[in-house]
Every structure is written in C-alpha cells, then in structure tokens.
C-alpha cells in the first residue's frame, strides 16, 4: 500500500487488465498489477516505493481472478492460502467494497498454482510474512473497481443511458427506478473493453473495509464439512506412512518388509529418497504396517547430535565477535569509560510448529500430468518440485489447495519437503497415494525454529541510559541453502537472524553499538516459525531493556518512552497498552506487570502481562495488547490474530522445546511437546491504534513481545530474570 488510497490509477497497456475471457455463465476478469520480482520482507531496506515501481513497470503479469455467475454469485479466487488468519474473508472484503457487491453472494476458492498468483512483493506464490492483506490491498480493490466499471458500461449499453447516470449498490446497477443484477450483466460485460483508468473509493466512502466482518469460512468449519488436505478421499486413493531416519540425514541401509506386508490392508512397501513407505488401504493399516517394518539405518554424521553440547558450543561462540550486522560509534572507547554495565546471556530452544492438522499430501500421477491435493503456503515451489521429480513441466502439475489446518510457517517449505516426498511415494507405488504424517513424525520431523544464543554487554551512562551496546548472536540460518539465499543473505548475514536486533529502534538513540552474528553450521533442518527471527530477538531485546531500566532504577515504561523518542508508532502502541492496562494503578496483591513493545512485519505491538508466581508456578492472568498496523481492514480478524499470537507465543515461552540426544529428537507428541491449553490461557484484551500509517501485517507481529512481557512481569514478581526459554520449572 504505497500509493495514497484514492489516487486514480493510470494503467498502461502492458500492465493492463485483460477482460473478456468468458467462462460458462459468467464473467472472468483477469487483472494485471505489476509485482516486484524479489523476495523481501516489508520494511527491509530495499522495500522502497521507488524500487517497487521501477520493477513493476518492467514485469507486468496477469495476476488474479474474480468470477461473476449468471446466478449472481461472485467467486473470489484467493492468491493466498487460508490457514486460520482470515484472508478467506479479508480479501473478498476488498473486492466487495469496490464492486458494491452483495456480501451474501460471495463465494471463495483457493487459486491454483500459476504465475498469475505471484505475490505482489515477494515474487513467488507464497502465503507468509504476515503480508497477504497489505500486499493485496491494491490488487484486489482494483479487481473490484474494474469489474464494477465493466458492469456499469454493460448496463449503460443495455439501457441506452450514459454510464455517468448509473450507480451501483449491493449487487445491482441502478438507473432511476430500474435495477439490473450483476449476474444479468456478466455476459455482456465480459465482451467489453476494459477501462484505461479507474478511481478507487475514498476511505470515507468505505462500507465494508474497516468494519468487523464475520468469517466466510465459519459455517463449514463448525459443522464438520470444511475440507482440509487430510479429508481428501477418492476411489483408489491409498494411504502411506513413511519410516524416516531417526537421525537427520540418515539413510536406509536395508529393510525387511515381510512382517509389514502381513498386516491386513497393507498393499506395498517401497523405498523412497526419505525412507521406506508403507502403502495401505487406510491409515490404521499403514500405521501398523510401519510399526512392523524393520529398517536398518545408516545414521550418518548427526548420530551424536546433542542439544546440551550444542548449547555449550553456541555459548562459547558467543564469547567472540561474529560478522558485523550493525555498528555505530566506538564501542571499545565507550566501554572503557563506563562504570556501570549490564551483561547477560540468553538462550532459546528449537521449536516445532506443530499445526493441528498433521502434514499430508495426496498425489495422483497420470501419463501427462499430476494432481496434488494439499494444504500448502507455497504452491509454486511445490509445483516446481513435483514437476522436476516427474519430468513434467510445472504447468502439467495441478495443485489443489485445501484449507490448511494451521501453518505457522511449516507449510511454506522452500525444499517442498512433504510434497516432494508424497510425489516420490506415489511415483514409486504407481497408484494415487495420500502420504500422512503422524504427530510423532511432525514433532520429530525437523524444520524447527532454530535454537539461538544471544550475549550482550551494555554500558550505562551517568543517567542510567545505554551508552554502548555490544551484542553477539549465534544460531542457524533459515535462508542458507534455499532459493531465498540470494535475497536474504547479505555479506554472510541472514537478515532473518538479526531482524529485531540490528535494526532495533533502541540503537538509534545509542551512540555506540555493535551487533554481530555467528551462523552455526548445525545440520538440523530449520525454518521460519511464526514471526521468524523476531521470535527470539524481541525476547532478548525487550528483556535487556528491562534489565537496563531496573539497573537504572527507572520505570520500565518510562525508560522505553525515553529510548523510543522519534519512533511514534512504537510509542503509540506502548502508550495505548499502558493506558488500557492502567499501568500507573496498583494491581491486586501478588500480581505484577511486565511490558514489551516490538515492531515486526511492518506493525508495532505492545504487550502488557499481568502475572503472579506462587511456589514457583507462573500464572498469566491477563494480557493487554495494542497494535498499530496502519489500516485494520477487518478489525475482528485482527483481534483474533493477536489472541492467536498470545496463545502461540505464550505456550512456547512457558513450555515448548525440542531437544536432541544421541542424534534423536527427545520429544514425540503433545504429551512431551507441550503447547498452550485452555486452562493456561489468560484473559486477552486487544486495542487497535487508529492509524493512517503504512499497512503492516497482523498474523505474526503480536507474538514477539509476548514472552518478554511475561518474563519481565516474572522479574517484577520475583526478582528472578528468566534468560532461558522455555520458562518451564526454572522458578520452582
């Protein structure tokens, strides 16, 4: 959303909307809005309006579709995947607003994998980076506005009146006392030439955008009819489970399928690159078959992987300076002059995403093509990977995206891991197969949020404010070895490893600082986990700021206010949360507050936690959140995402960790990989800063400040500083 909201859009021929593709009984608008062919995070240095516009002019592509049926239904095709975040509703709101559509006639479909659906900023088809709403804000509104213009032209022709005399409302074009439904105009509109320019509504005229709107996928998700990847069934579709190496990188030496094949319902046992697949009539037979299967593994080079030893190694590395990610002034001289310091070491564990729906992917291979049914956040990448395995062209692989039973980043895999494996299984089996992961497969299966160690030494001046900041981080790179390496790794530094530290607003008001990074070469598969690098950096930065405030004997809120001068959006979120939480008023006896604020994905979120600690047991009673994300297109959906981020972030901070011993993951299921449950969920209040600033995301930015708000409250309650997550029983 770089252009002002009401700028008339002059659309050149080459970037132009193609209309007129007629499908049975309706109008298809293919519209083309330029995209930048790069992978970027919003707010990153290269993400400037000028750059985007320059690339845009060069790279026109038709981008997305909207269909009006003669029965007046309006079907919106989503270029992004619905995984709980609510874009099944938010993107149609954008189209419906400009189209003056009848909201009750809106239907929604996931789009296929195709160049038309490439992300407007990231250059690949992806749902991630909390980017869907802001990245589609113009494209989907323009689709609605262009369609409306065509319908008006069709009506004008039909009625023999001027287009200027017509208006639109609730799915009709209106001329005086006459009205014609969109469905009745669709076929005629499809034959018209598209307008050369459109004017979008001014915000004051919005009827839908900015209004709390109920989810369109609500009804089917409460009556059991919503179809997730796991729910795909058709004649001939078999179920497979794959026995994978218990150690990452291990390979099959040999296997004995005799006992497995004796299980009723087991049809085949085949070797695939990731292990040995048992193919059966149903899940239960596949599971029993896999249990009966004997595999002799070559465990490979990671057989002695041990997370305790790894942590010790990381801590050793943190004692030396790494590659410089950000630097100003002269730390050495400033440190030599200082008298007061805060020195601290922080550690955060590997974390599994564990979405509620275990990974699964159904594949049907035919002579000249392949169909795939799955819940994925990266259709294009999966399509390319499948095509390569099968020797097909990407367009011969059809991806059907079903509802995702949660994603949190796990279903956006640059290596297309679970899709590639399912394609290999179907290829080896020669029949259509749904490859299903058990929960144990998910917890032990890798692609974790990387473990990180941060070490900091901060000098305080006579006023208790930081005068020099030395900071070293150690952890694996998420981007290394992926197609995004070229865009996200600069001078050896993965920007996602230092987002939230190297670009911290606090540093801007500190004369001397140095942030450096050691990228660990550990062979654990890692991936973006809800809020990516911010999931560890915010915890460290907001804890350190709290340590400084307490060392300086200052109020943590006031201390932040002083350090965030010149950062109005941080301050707006901070101040709104503080006001709503009654920061200055006393709490009931035994309850203490902690505060944190952090920017990520273009949005600014403050969290205030109210916590009590009794006999070592932490109870979070209430979380008060404030967010400035610019315009809130669907405020209730935004509120839901903050509630969600608190649950996800707090559950992880309290209890979750993946550890290794003898090369193997020690956790297996929700009994030992603990996550948030009803009884531990605090009361949540969400407040939205009324903002006309640039739009940011909402799916992730609520999460980063959750853990530090809670541990800062624990410090207020007990005087104990939690520097290692999860909190677990550290207070016992």
């Amino acid at each position: 959303m770089n252009a002002p909201l009401n700028t008339p859009l002059n659309i050149s021929r080459r970037t132009f909307i193609k209309a007129g593709a007629l499908v049975v009984g309706g109008l298809v608008i293919a519209f083309s809005i330029p995209h930048a062919k790069r992978f970027l995070m919003p707010g990153s240095a290269a993400d400037t309006t000028a750059d985007a516009a320059k690339d845009a002019a060069k790279l026109p592509t038709p981008n997305a579709y909207l269909r009006i049926g003669t029965d007046n239904t309006i079907t919106v095709m989503l270029a992004h995947s619905e995984m709980g975040q609510g874009i099944w509703t938010t993107l149609p709101m954008l189209i419906a607003e400009e189209l003056d559509a009848d909201w009750s006639k809106i239907k929604v479909e996931h789009a296929s994998a195709a160049p038309e659906y490439i992300h407007t900023a990231y250059g690949i088809q992806i749902t991630g980076g909390s980017s869907t709403t802001w990245s589609e804000f113009d494209r989907y509104r323009q689709a609605g506005a262009l369609t409306r213009a065509l319908l008006i032209s069709a009506a004008a022709e039909k009625l023999g009146v001027s287009a200027d005399s017509l208006k639109t409302e609730n799915g009709f074009v209106i001329s005086g006392d006459n009205k014609i439904s969109y469905g009745d105009l669709a076929e005629a509109a499809a034959k018209l030439e598209t307008p050369k320019a459109i004017t979008l509504k001014e915000p004051k005229d919005w009827k839908i955008i900015g209004k709390a709107t109920k989810r369109l996928d609500g009804p089917e998700k409460i009556n059991g009819t919503a179809i997730f990847g796991q729910d795909i069934q058709f004649d001939g579709l078999m179920t497979a489970m794959v026995a994978r190496s218990p150690v990452f990188g291990g390979t099959v030496k040999s296997f004995d399928a005799t006992a497995a094949k004796q299980i009723k319902g087991v049809r085949q046992v085949v070797q695939v690159p990731t292990g040995v697949a048992v193919i059966a009539d149903n899940y239960w037979a596949a599971k029993k078959g896999r249990e009966a299967l004997k595999v002799d593994w070559d465990l490979g080079e990671n057989a002695s992987l041990d997370s305790k030893a790894l942590l010790a190694e990381y801590k050793k590395m943190a004692a030396t300076t790494g590659l410089i990610a950000a630097k100003a002034g002269d730390n050495k001289t400033a440190m030599a002059k200082a008298e007061k310091f805060v020195e601290a070491e922080y550690a955060l564990p590997y974390l599994a995403h564990s979405p509620m729906e275990p990974l699964n992917c159904s594949v049907k291979i035919e002579k000249d093509g392949c169909e795939i049914w799955t819940g994925t956040q990266m259709q294009g990448t999966d399509q390319t990977a499948a095509a390569k395995i099968l020797g097909l062209k990407p367009e011969q692989v059809k991806i059907h995206t079903l509802f995702l039973g949660g994603g949190f980043g796990r279903r956006a895999n640059p290596a297309a891991d679970f899709v590639s494996e399912a394609v290999q299984v179907a290829k080896a089996a020669g029949v259509p197969v749904k490859t299903v992961w058990s929960r144990e497969d998910d917890v032990k299966g890798g692609y974790y949020r990387p473990m990180f160690v941060h070490k900091a030494k901060i000098a305080l001046d006579a006023n208790g404010m930081p005068s020099a900041w030395e900071h070293v981080a150690v952890g694996q790179s998420i981007m290394l070895g992926t197609p995004f390496e070229a865009f996200q790794i600069k001078d050896g530094i993965d920007t996602t490893s230092v987002e939230g530290t190297a670009d911290s607003p606090y540093l801007k008001n500190i004369p001397n600082y140095q942030i450096s990074l050691h990228t660990a070469k550990t062979k654990v598969p890692v991936l973006w986990w809800r809020s990516v690098g911010h999931s560890h950096t915010a915890f460290v930065m907001e804890s350190l700021i709290d340590e400084l405030a307490h060392t300086a004997k200052k109020d943590p809120l006031e201390y932040r206010r002083a350090l965030l001068k010149g950062h109005p959006r941080h301050l707006a979120a901070l101040n709104l949360a503080a006001e709503k939480a009654d920061w200055d008023k006393p709490l009931p006896k035994g309850v203490f507050r902690g505060i944190a604020v952090h920017e990520s994905f273009g949005s600014f979120v403050a969290q205030i936690a109210e916590v009590s600690v009794n006999e070592g047991e932490v109870k979070v009673h209430r979380m008060v959140s404030a967010i400035d994300c610019g315009l809130a297109v669907n405020p209730d959906s935004l509120t839901a995402q903050i509630e969600s981020s608190i649950s996800f972030g707090l559950g992880a901070a309290m209890q979750s960790e993946i550890t290794f011993k003898d090369g193997m993951v020690e956790q297996s299921n929700f009994n030992d990989y603990q996550v948030m449950r009803m009884g531990n969920m605090p009361k949540v209040e969400v407040y939205i800063v009324q903002s006309t600033e640039k739009m940011g995301g909402v799916g992730e930015p609520g999460l980063p400040p959750v853990a530090p708000a809670v541990t800062n409250a624990i410090f207020a309650a007990t005087g104990k500083r939690i520097r290692t997550l999860p909190i677990g029983n550290q207070l016992a």
């Binding site: 619905e82 995984m83 709980g84 975040q85 609510g86 109920k214 989810r215 996928d217 609500g218 009804p219 089917e220 998700k221 409460i222 009556n223 059991g224 009819t225 919503a226 179809i227 997730f228 796991q230 729910d231 069934q233 179920t239 009723k264 009539d281 149903n282 899940y283 239960w284 599971k287 564990s354 979405p355 509620m356 729906e357 275990p358 509802f403 995702l404 039973g405 949660g406 949190f408 058990s438 929960r439 209730d636 839901a640 509630e643 969600s644 981020s645 608190i646 649950s647 996800f648 299921n669 929700f670 009994n671 996550v675 948030m676 449950r677 009803m678 009884g679 969920m681 009361k683 949540v684």
Partner: protein, 152 residues
C-alpha cells in the same frame, strides 16, 4: 464385520476390532468431520460422543462401540445442545484454521449436557484436553458461556 450405530443409523463396517473409532469413521464410513490430531488422546481433535459421553476416538477401538451410539460433529445440527453450541460459535466467530473445532464443539456439547451453567474453572477442566494451536481459547470460553445462557 461389526455393526455400529453412527449418528442414529445402523451401519456394518468391515474393519479389524482394534481399529480406533476415528479411522473407522474417517477412512471407512467416510465421515471426515472428526479429525486426527495426535493419535494418543492428547489433543482432542478426534472427540466424538459414545452414548453421549465425550471420548477420544483416536485411542478407542471400534470394538468398544459395539451396541453403543456414536455421535459425531455431522449430527450436531440435529442436537438441541449442539445447535446452541454451533450458534454460539458462529455468533462469537470462534474459528480460525478450524481443524480442531469439531473436537472443541463435541467437548463443549458434552460439557453442557451435564453442566448447564459451567464456571470458568469447569470450562478449564472440561476443555483442557482440546488443543487449539490458533489459540481460539478466549472465544471458545465466551461461546460456551453464550450457549449455556441461551439454553437456560
């Protein structure tokens, strides 16, 4: 062959005795509203009613259902309490990804069948076996209170 009563209808299924009810429902009876989440009664996504009681169908063998009534999410629209729960879920717009919600609704319905006015502590006790990774917990709590008040 085992004869089962699923959502009020007698059905014969050719499945081994040890097959969990979950997989008989999903893979054999093709009722996919009941979800697989963990396979060891840790997450509650597979919750159904057996003679009105909430059970985890992923660990309950089909043999345990002989002579009893299995009720699934697909039947809740015909259940007075189920209707109230679903209406509350809709009013409060509880769902996000939605995958756990069949199980949440089945647990909530079973709770309200025996406790017409659950306290927050009652809800914690009855619902803590149902994980929601999207964190719809505050809304589930509000929806259960809402349904209870509508049923009163």
């Amino acid at each position: 062959m085992i004869t089962l009563n699923i959502n009020g209808k007698e059905q014969q299924l050719d499945v081994p005795d040890d097959m969990p009810i979950l997989w008989a429902l999903r893979d054999v009876a093709h009722l996919t509203g009941t979800k697989f989440g963990c396979g060891m009664a840790q997450c509650g996504a597979c919750t159904v009613h057996l003679d009105g009681q909430a059970i985890r169908s992923c660990i309950t063998p089909i043999s345990a259902a002989a002579g009893k009534k299995i009720t699934t999410i697909e039947e809740m629209q015909n259940d007075k309490i189920g209707q109230a729960v679903q209406a509350a879920w809709s009013e409060i717009d509880v769902v996000q990804c939605g995958y756990c919600q069949s199980g949440q609704i089945m647990s909530a319905t079973a709770l309200l069948a025996t406790n017409t006015k659950p306290t927050d502590a009652d809800i914690d006790a009855a619902m803590s076996g149902n994980i929601c990774r999207c964190g719809t917990y505050p809304r589930i709590r509000a929806a259960i209170h809402n349904a209870a008040s509508k049923l009163a």
